[in-house]
């Protein structure tokens, strides 16, 4: 059931409708993404946040058709500039990968082929998408490396990946992703493997790219990173969208109990220090055992009968761009959040995880 997009949004660059990804396993089918719809406008940064098993990475791999496992089934629509990527012939899809949509992965240590120089690998991508001479491609690789802040790029271009530090490698991977000036950059946990000071450098770099006009999808588990860089936020749980909306709206007035939990359970570097953190009870849902109703209901302190039924992503009252999938009355959310937070801090909830 595709969700109609709010009308005031500009024509989306990427428009994913009712995306479903399931894997055939020995224990039966496992649904990793369960009817996800999202859109990214040109020049926009969409932050996708969720815990492991939320389907955030799998959905983006499905968008680029990078799920090569023969046991995987993808359905729905992935409209990129109006064309459905899921039905595109392989050759046309290859022309989009790397040129119009580029992707950066989590672990820079393993993302580059160890036996080729960094420059060679960047040049390879440039030459895969255009009639460019070896020399010209090399020169562009040097410029790109220098653009992403690698000092002495003219000589570092001939270095092998193992001769780069983690942060430098991630810069090189980003340089490679940018080599064909893609309209959309998908970054899957690009800073998770990096130290916090290096993370700050990479986030700055990504902000610059965005200022130059690239749209981005940033997948992360880190609410702080999302809060720093995203224009819009999509909170995923159990392969579905739990909440989605403009960053300020989601962070200042989160509506879904799962988003509350995510925000409250992170120990901060500022603000009051609590002896016990508010927690989300239980464990993240496993894709193999999605409930038919609300995926978060088994962990939700406010779940009720209605939650047996699956809630649709809908705007509450007010901002049409801020939507969530929850049966709780929209007008009571703020007070319910305080109740839930108090409960989450007091309850000795360590047994809840153990119970399963």
């Amino acid at each position: 059931m595709p969700e109609p997009l709010p009308e005031h949004l500009p024509e989306p660059l990427l428009d994913v409708r009712d995306l479903r990804v399931s894997f055939r396993t020995r224990r039966g089918p496992v649904t990793a993404v369960d009817g996800l719809s999202l859109s990214v406008a040109p020049g926009e940064v969409l932050g996708v946040v969720g815990e492991s098993g939320s389907g955030k990475s799998v959905s983006m791999l499905a968008v680029l058709r990078l799920l090569t496992n023969p046991n995987v089934t993808v359905s729905g629509q992935v409209l990129f500039r109006g064309r459905d990527l899921l039905t595109l012939p392989d050759k046309q899809m290859r022309a989009i990968r790397g040129r119009e949509i580029a992707m950066v992965f989590q672990d820079p240590m393993t993302a580059l082929t160890p036996v080729y120089t960094v420059g060679w690998q960047i040049a390879e991508q440039i030459r895969a998408h255009g009639q460019v001479s070896r020399k010209e491609a090399h020169a562009r690789a040097v410029r790109l490396l220098s653009d992403v802040g690698i000092p002495d790029a003219a000589s570092r271009v001939n270095a092998y990946p193992h001769e780069f530090s983690g942060g430098m490698r991630q810069r090189a991977v980003i340089a490679m992703a940018l080599s064909c000036s893609p309209a959309l950059l998908i970054a899957d946990e690009p800073t998770t493997a990096l130290d916090v000071t290096v993370q700050a450098q990479i986030l700055d770099l990504m902000r610059e790219l965005n200022a130059d006009g690239s749209a981005m999808v940033l997948i992360t588990h880190d609410m702080g990173v999302i809060s720093q860089i995203a224009d819009r936020v999509l909170v995923m749980y159990g392969g579905r969208a739990a909440e989605d909306g403009p960053r300020r709206a989601v962070f200042h007035g989160p509506r879904h109990p799962y988003t509350w939990g995510l925000l409250d359970s992170v120990p901060r570097v500022g603000g009051p220090r609590l002896r016990r953190l508010p927690t989300i009870a239980g464990m993240p849902v496993s894709p193999g055992s999605l409930p038919t109703g609300c995926a978060f209901a088994p962990r939700c302190r406010l779940s009720h009968d209605r939650c047996e039924e699956r809630p649709a992503l809908a705007a509450g009252n007010g901002d049409a761009a801020h939507r969530d999938a929850c049966w709780l009355p929209p007008e009571d959310r703020a007070s319910l959040r305080l109740t839930a937070r108090a409960a989450a801090s007091d309850v000795q909830d360590m047994d809840s995880e153990a119970a399963s």
Binding site: L112, T113, V115, A128, H162
Partner: protein
């Protein structure tokens, strides 16, 4: 890179020297054994013994004896076989070398080609029925010992079907490459196939595993996200990285085979190569020849090792700094 190669060769020379000393000690310093009797072979008469004692300076200290021995073997090249009096060790080896090289190089070309094709095909077709089929062929190849397979091949091509299908197969033996290239290849065809079958199976299995692992690596996913063709991803990325361990194994196998490990194939097909020479020398306890072939084999194994290390550094930039 060059300094790495030089260092590697220097250490190879050191290893060669150590092996020659070791071989020398086994022959000349084993307690309670008269080296002269060993060199002279079985049932030598006193005159021969005396001559041997004199020419090897067996009354002189060990280091001198070592140097004398190496001079006889390598510089004067007049160390003689006992069994075939008058035939010298080094010329014998020099004569046998082209035979072995012909056999091994030809077989290596076949097994590397077949092994890489089979392994890559199996890896890319995993999940289909083709993969286990290819691997089954590989297992069969590995399981057939060369002497048995060789005998069967001989039986079929020289006797059972010689009058019909295999009438074109020449009798066992070796023809010089420079003399008649066509006959050279024809004579070696079945020895090549026999030797290659064993190694092709091993290499195919090994490469399949490496390629399957590589295809699951992050860098392959990156290559795919770059928009490269599947073919390019397979050949330039997955296969390129998978070949690193294969090539190093190949160097060692090749060195060992050139050094005489193709003995069974040579004996079965009546090829007068190094393996056959060693085999005969062992049967006759022809110590000078044994010593010569052992040193020769050691030379090739060590050389192959050094080449593998240098090649490895060439192929894998990560190894260059180690």
């Amino acid at each position: 890179m060059i300094s790495f190669a030089l260092k590697r060769f220097a250490s190879a020379l050191l290893v060669m020297f150590s092996i020659s000393v070791l071989v020398f000690l086994i022959f000349f310093a084993t307690p309670g054994v008269d080296p002269a009797a060993r060199i002279a072979g079985r049932n030598a008469d006193p005159a021969t013994l005396a001559q041997v004692r004199h020419s090897f300076g067996l009354d002189r200290p060990l280091p001198i004896r070592y140097l004398l021995m190496m001079r006889h073997l390598l510089i004067d090249r007049d160390l003689e076989s006992f069994v075939n009096r008058g035939s010298r060790v080094i010329p014998q080896i020099v004569q046998a070398m082209p035979v072995t090289l012909s056999l091994v190089v030809g077989a290596a070309v076949i097994w590397m080609t077949v092994g890489i094709l089979m392994g890559t095909a199996a890896a890319t077709l995993r999940g289909t029925a083709v993969d286990p089929l290819i691997m089954l062929v590989g297992v069969v190849g590995v399981s057939l010992p060369a002497y048995w397979l060789g005998e069967v091949v001989n039986l079929v091509t020289q006797k059972q079907l010689h009058d019909s299908v295999f009438s074109w197969v020449p009798p066992p033996g070796y023809v010089d490459l420079t003399g008649d290239p066509g006959q050279w290849a024809l004579h070696l065809l079945f020895p090549w196939l026999t030797l290659a079958l064993l190694y092709a199976g091993i290499y195919a299995r090994l490469l399949r595993g490496e390629v399957v692992t590589a295809l699951n690596e992050d860098y392959v996913r990156t290559a795919r996200a770059k928009g490269l063709s599947e073919r390019r991803i397979l050949v330039r990325h997955a296969l390129r990285c998978s070949l690193i361990p294969i090539v190093s194994l190949f160097g060692l196998d090749f060195g060992a085979l050139v050094g005489g490990a193709a003995l069974l194939t040579e004996v079965v097909f009546g090829l007068p190569g190094i393996g056959k020479l060693t085999f005969d020398a062992l049967q006759n306890l022809d110590l000078p020849v044994i010593m010569g072939t052992v040193l020769y084999a050691a030379f090739f194994v060590v050389l192959a090792n050094a080449l593998v290390d240098i090649l490895y550094a060439r192929l894998d930039p990560r190894a260059r700094h180690a």
